[in-house]
């Protein structure tokens, strides 16, 4: 077993996903079996192999770092569940 109830709850906290006890148990079982299954990668010798981070065969293109003046705050706020005077509104953080 890779994970136990404590670790699954810790990961859920990191991912900001609240789990019920029942969900935590189910995910624990699933994720442990998936982690056991991916263990087979340890059979592969990867000494001196560079990790592949970009699969694009062409070089990443660059663009000039130029200032663009776009006033789109109304558009950006349009989908916000709660907004106030041109800002996103969230539950009170500072008492």
């Amino acid at each position: 077993m890779k994970l136990n109830t404590n670790t699954i709850n810790k990961i859920a906290k990191l991912a900001r996903i609240r789990l019920s006890e029942k969900e935590a148990d189910e995910f624990l079982k699933d994720i442990n079996s998936i982690l056991d299954w991916v263990e087979q990668l340890n059979e592969v010798n990867t000494d001196n192999v560079e990790p592949l981070t970009n699969i694009s065969s062409s070089a990443l293109t660059k663009r000039r770092d130029e200032n663009q003046d776009i006033n789109s705050s109304d558009e950006i706020l349009q989908n916000s569940p709660d907004k106030l005077e041109g800002y996103f509104a969230v539950p009170k953080v500072v008492e």
Binding site: L14, R18, V38, T46, S58, T61
Partner: protein, 474 residues
């Protein structure tokens, strides 16, 4: 009324034998008749007639004028909502248009609606959507089949003749596998050939837009219009896009076709292997040379994928926090409380599972053992293909390990579900292009697909060989 191809419909339009409005009416009627298949998340007649008014005014020189296209609900569209099949984006109205859909609009295409998909494109049956399951149009009455996934709605829309083309995205097989299940053509082009700008992100180093169509020629027409360089996606490639459909060449004389021995897998039905064998024979008869090749790291592709894709997903999906857009939980007592409740309510089970796996494999102390290891194995898998394409021009394999399975088949074992992508994931990890075309049927009359792969940006040769094979069933 049924139109067989883009060129047929375009010719009727050019000869004034049909109007853009009549095309709209025809497809609206079809879509309404097939409502029970739950192919569309968003369908609105008024929005289609709004487009008709604009399309009527443009020149007939636009290659896709009036052509009905369905859009996977993972592409942001300015005039239609975009949900990614998730509750968390249930009420999201993008304020911008994705690169790919904008290109299709520019050529005069008509969007008939947004198609259903697995939530955030995570699945192989279009059964993890918040908006219900899509039914494969090839199902018999009373025994619904899965359309495959994640782009199951788009594949089903083409199969049910509700459009002449449908956009999809493919991260590990999400275009090719549903194309195989629904008996249509589906191409995932080279990573980087279509900009990802405006596509809801799942796993950014793998996500690639592509297209479903009724035939190879239409796929080649549509891909040319969707592809292109875009500064807003730094991984977008600056390459010249060939006129694929004009260049279609049926002559395969001397072309070398690789048959990888690792794609003969225990437990795969004889029917799948027989169809593969028939396609090999057909290519040989057309003058191609068959080469038996090896892709030695094939068996490690799935476990590699199921580390890399969830890792990237856990990072990409961190943006859904209930602040800027999408669902927000009510009655949260604090900011942290709001994040946790929002994400707990907004995401479905498969998405949560992948976020948790991704968070774990990226977490301190486990990064090297899982994520870095997987990236190294990914390099070996990509190198396998580089070596193989020194010996052959194309690789031919089955697309999926089975025909469409029943929709209600128990899916309680995630690993079993992940095996659906066994033939499609290696090419995704290598970023190479692949097509699935229908080729033969199983004993129940369900279509089986075969897959053609080639090296980066070699879509033309894929189209050529697919075009030649397609003729076997005309």
């Amino acid at each position: 009324m049924e139109f067989q191809s883009i060129s047929q419909l375009k010719l009727l339009l050019d000869d004034n034998k049909i109007s853009v409005k009549e095309i709209a009416q025809t497809y609206i009627k079809k879509i309404k008749e097939k409502k029970d298949l739950n192919i569309f998340i968003y369908f609105n007649e008024d929005k289609i007639y709004d487009q008709v008014k604009l399309i009527e005014k443009i020149s007939n020189d636009n290659s896709l004028k009036g052509i009905p296209i369905a859009v996977k609900d993972l592409f942001c569209t300015k005039n239609m909502p975009t949900t990614a099949g998730s509750k968390i984006l249930e009420n999201f109205n993008p304020t911008y248009e994705s690169f790919v859909t904008q290109k299709l609009i520019n050529q005069g295409s008509m969007f008939v609606g947004k198609t259903n998909l697995d939530e955030f494109a995570m699945g192989s049956a279009t059964n993890t959507s918040y908006f219900g399951d899509t039914i494969n149009p090839l199902s018999n009455e009373g025994s619904p089949l899965a359309p495959g996934g994640s782009s199951g709605g788009s594949a089903a829309a083409v199969a049910a003749d509700l459009c002449l083309g449908a956009t999809g995205t493919d991260t590990g097989g999400s275009i090719r596998q549903p194309a195989s299940f629904c008996g249509v053509v589906g191409i995932k082009p080279t990573y980087g050939i279509c900009s990802r700008w405006g596509i809801v992100a799942f796993a950014s180093s793998l996500d690639q837009a592509g297209i479903f169509s009724k035939n190879v020629t239409d796929a080649s027409i549509l891909l040319k219009e969707m592809a292109g360089h875009d500064l807003r996606d730094s991984t977008s490639s600056n390459v010249k896009i060939p006129n694929f459909s004009e260049n279609l060449n049926i002559d395969l004389k001397g072309k070398k076709i690789g048959i990888p021995k690792e794609y003969t897998i225990d437990g795969i039905s004889d029917e799948i292997n027989e169809v593969w064998e028939q396609a090999i024979k057909s290519l040989e008869q057309k003058g191609a040379i068959i080469e038996h090749i090896s892709l030695p790291h094939t068996k490690y592709a799935l476990p590699t994928y199921y580390i890399i894709a969830p890792a990237e997903a856990s990072s990409n999906l961190a943006r859904y926090d209930g602040v800027k857009y999408g669902h927000r939980a009510e009655n949260a007592k604090s900011l942290d409380d709001m994040y946790e409740l929002t994400r707990s309510e907004g995401f479905g089970k498969e998405v949560k599972r992948r976020i948790l796996i991704g968070t774990y494999v990226l977490s301190a102390g486990y990064y090297d053992a899982y994520y870095l290891k997987a990236q190294k194995v990914r390099k070996l898998i990509a190198d396998d293909f580089v070596k193989a394409f020194k010996e052959c021009d194309l690789i031919l394999t089955p697309t999926a390990p089975s025909a469409a399975f029943p929709l209600n088949e128990k899916q309680d074992d995630p690993i079993k579900m992940y095996l659906n992508d066994v033939f499609t994931v290696p090419a995704s990890l290598a970023g190479i292009p692949g097509i699935s075309i229908p080729y033969g049927k199983d004993k129940n009359g369900l279509p089986l697909g075969i897959q053609l792969l080639s090296k980066h940006f070699n879509e033309q040769e894929i189209f050529n060989a697919a075009f030649a094979l397609e003729k076997d069933y005309e």
